[in-house]
């Protein structure tokens, strides 16, 4: 689609966009004329500082202007909010050097999400991130006729809670998330599309607050991630903190710095760090009567940064072991993230992998470019039919068992989407419920892993101990998000329970925030729901019509009539402008097309692999584990 066409056609379709929601800076990109490019402001700047400043009477400022307000209003200005995504109030990360005021939780439920007191209100990281996303979406809307779905990048090493929080922020900002995409994979996509070079690559991604390493194979357009690892609390911010703590604060002669001094020390540290990328020595003048300027050399900086940078080596070596590779087998190493501009980092990467790292693309922009490319592919507009990303689950998922030990259900580096089942049984007569604790991480003990959800399965028919068979299914979708469902199999009673995670925000909380964000509250929300249902239904009608036309041969006698009747009912529901009627009609149409859809899928597979059969699916259900082996069982 040409740019001219975009400009002159008022009915041009909304365009998919890619967003890199970074710790320090965020960007939005879009594919234009077949090439991904970052969208810039009128000064040609693509980076939007990930800073949100709150003022009186609901006034919110985002980006460069907010960054300028930071020194004057350190407590009301939130920077590096990404470090707090999906984290609880009691998380050690929330207690590190920061100029923010943390709101003490008032209840246990409250303590699952960290909150900041800013100006006249209290905000969560999800709300702060939503402000940044709104600004990026607005920039895209100005440039494009309309914004369709969005691909948002997340660190590969983000856990389920951090991913969910990111998705919640997008929902709050009113964006339709096509996919959460891992940042290193996005970067590889940006590189691979330009170079078309097959091989095995490591992506070393050190951002402002997160570190990721991904080992992937590129085979004729398929990006197959073999292993990923990282540290979701390690980045350039730590460089600033280390410089501030070891050099700037002592030079200022401060031992117990308040928010203003902390902010100042971090600013000076960052300026020194940036200057030393180009120069061998930097002189910082300190805002203190009669004090000599602080002189810092690159060698000294190296000494301060080296121990932090070396922490990335642990994750790199583990990812290589997981991929069963030695560094010499790598075709290349791609550098991503602003912090990889540091000479200390580059020297370390060279040492670790034994190759000269690739950095042709701007390390700040490459992730957003990859996200835009993926958004285009997902919208089916890429025309690049052979590109596919096969990504993995970054951290093992498991269940807490007897003695607090973790039983791993899905190991790390499993290609997603993935599913695993586990069967449990009751330990007491007439037991009708029990509790499961889902955790994520690599440690042996549940207490050392991230707690994702505690939930109670209820409604088990009363039976003698050990008779009930509860099958719990863990599904991880292509966004890396976990869904858990359970059913009782012995009695044939399909007692499906969809489990909502116990962390973060539930749907009601997000809805409340949406309502308060909209000027006219409920009316606006209802109108928006209706509009969304309408768009979705029209898409469904279009694709169903196309399917009927192209695959008429796959229809069984009478099937066309049923499908067409369901389509007519949906069209009628659309006329009534009632969201729940439309929803019901959609469900009916889906039921009517279910079998046809299966046949179309099978035909597509047969075409892909030359008419062969996939073979019988063997689903091995693990042996039932005694519930006594599961801690925290509940008698009810």
């Amino acid at each position: 689609m040409s740019v001219l066409f975009d400009i002159f056609d008022p009915k041009a379709a909304p365009r998919p966009i890619g967003i890199d929601l970074g710790t320090t800076n965020s960007l939005v990109a879009c594919v234009r004329d077949g090439r991904p490019e970052c969208l810039r402001d009128c000064d040609g700047v693509a980076l939007v500082p990930s800073v949100v400043s709150y003022g009186a009477r609901g006034h919110v400022v985002v980006g460069a202007e907010a960054a300028r307000l930071q020194s004057a209003h350190p407590e009301d200005t939130v920077a590096s909010v990404k470090r707090f995504m999906g984290r609880g109030a009691d998380d050690p990360e929330t207690r590190r050097l920061s100029s923010l005021r943390f709101e003490p939780p008032t209840s246990e439920a409250d303590s699952r999400v960290v909150r900041f007191r800013v100006a006249d209100r209290v905000v969560s990281p999800v709300e702060v991130s939503a402000e940044i996303l709104r600004v990026l979406a607005a920039r895209a809307r100005e440039e494009l006729n309309g914004v369709g779905g969005v691909v948002i990048t997340v660190p590969a090493y983000f856990d389920d809670a951090q991913r969910q929080a990111t998705k919640d922020a997008a929902k709050l900002a009113g964006l339709e998330v096509l996919r959460l995409l891992n940042e290193p994979t996005a970067a590889a996509l940006a590189y691979g599309l330009e170079k078309k070079q097959n091989g095995t690559f490591a992506v070393y991604d050190l951002g402002g607050g997160t570190f990721d390493v991904t080992i992937l194979r590129l085979d004729d357009g398929v990006f197959h991630v073999r292993a990923t690892g990282g540290d979701s609390a390690l980045g350039g911010d730590d460089f600033d903190r280390a410089i501030a703590e070891s050099r700037v604060l002592p030079a200022l002669g401060v031992t117990a710095p308040g928010p203003d001094v902390r902010r100042l020390a971090l600013d000076l540290a960052r300026r020194a760090k940036h200057a030393l990328t180009e120069h061998a020595e930097v002189e910082l003048s300190l805002p203190r009567e009669g004090s000599a300027p602080l002189v810092l050399t690159r060698a000294e900086l190296d000494g301060i940064l080296r121990p932090i940078v070396e922490r990335t080596g642990v994750a790199c070596r583990r990812a290589l072991r997981d991929a069963e590779l030695s560094p010499t087998e790598l075709t290349g190493v791609i550098l991503v993230g602003g912090s990889t501009r540091s000479p200390t980092v580059r020297a370390y990467v060279r040492e670790l992998f034994g190759v000269e790292p690739l950095c042709e693309l701007d390390p700040d922009e490459v992730v957003a470019l990859g996200a835009a490319a993926q958004a285009e592919l997902l919208a089916g507009e890429g025309g690049v039919d052979d590109v596919l990303l096969l990504d993995v689950l970054p951290l093992s998922l498991g269940i807490e068992t007897m003695g607090g030990v973790v039983d791993k259900i899905l190991p790390r580096n499993t290609t997603i989407p993935a599913e695993a089942r586990s069967t449990f049984t009751t330990y007491a007569d007439r037991q009708t419920g029990f509790e499961l604790h889902v955790v994520q991480g690599e440690r042996e003990l549940a207490a050392d892993c991230r707690s994702l959800a505690r939930f109670t399965l209820r409604g088990i028919p009363p039976m003698p101990a050990g008779m009930a068979r509860l099958e719990v299914t863990f599904s991880v979708d292509a966004d890396g998000l976990l869904h858990v469902s359970a059913r009782e199999v012995t009695t044939g009673i399909e007692q499906r329970v969809e489990v909502k995670p116990t962390y973060g925000l539930d749907d009601d909380a997000i809805e409340q925030m949406l309502l308060s964000a909209l000027d006219h509250g409920e009316d606006d929300l209802a109108a928006r729901r209706l509009a969304e249902a309408r768009i979705e239904s029209e898409q469904v009608l279009t694709v169903t019509r196309q399917a009927l036309a192209t695959d008429a041969a796959l229809l069984e006698p009478g099937e066309r009539d049923q499908i067409e009747a369901a389509m007519a009912a949906l069209v009628a529901a659309l006329d009534c402008a009632n969201a729940s009627l439309i929803h019901l009609a959609n469900e009916d149409l889906e039921r009517a097309t279910h079998a046809f859809a299966g046949r179309r899928m099978d035909a597509a597979i047969a075409r892909a692999i030359g008419g062969k059969q996939l073979g019988e699916v063997e689903r091995s259900v693990e042996g039932a584990k005694g519930i006594e082996a599961h801690l925290a069982a509940e008698r009810s």
């Binding site: 070596r317 997902l378 399917a547 063997e618």
Partner: protein
Amino acid sequence: MTLGLTPTYGLDLSALDARYHELSKVVHPDRQAGRSPAERRRALSLAVDVNAAYRALRDPVRRAEAMLARGGRASDRAAPSPAFLMDVMELREGLAAARAASDLGRVRGMADEVRARRDRVIAGLAAAFGAGRDDDAVPLVAELRYLARFLDEVRAIEEEADA
């Protein structure tokens, strides 16, 4: 699920990768633009199955178990020879000693030895299945499991030493 490949133990792993990629291009959730919700759901469940099958087929132990199951033999009762068990016991004692002494060099040396041994067992399995001698494969599968577990332990030791 064999992903449409001929069931054989001596699987060509690059052919498996190629087939896996072809299938993923059809069933992966990212490739469902322009499809109805029913088709997307069907594709998702197929993508989950294809991923699981790929993972199982790449694993030499699970591939052997699947081959035995095809021939109607159970692999879980199989026991390796007493001589093999003695060997493994000695290896594990050696590994425990190397771990206690934090001798990573010795750990890696033992790992190389066991890897070579594992590769010989895999070759033996391919020969046994290839000749239709499934009964001969049964004790080899048990051996392979022990060797794989040993290598898992090596990984854990390496990780522990690194952290």
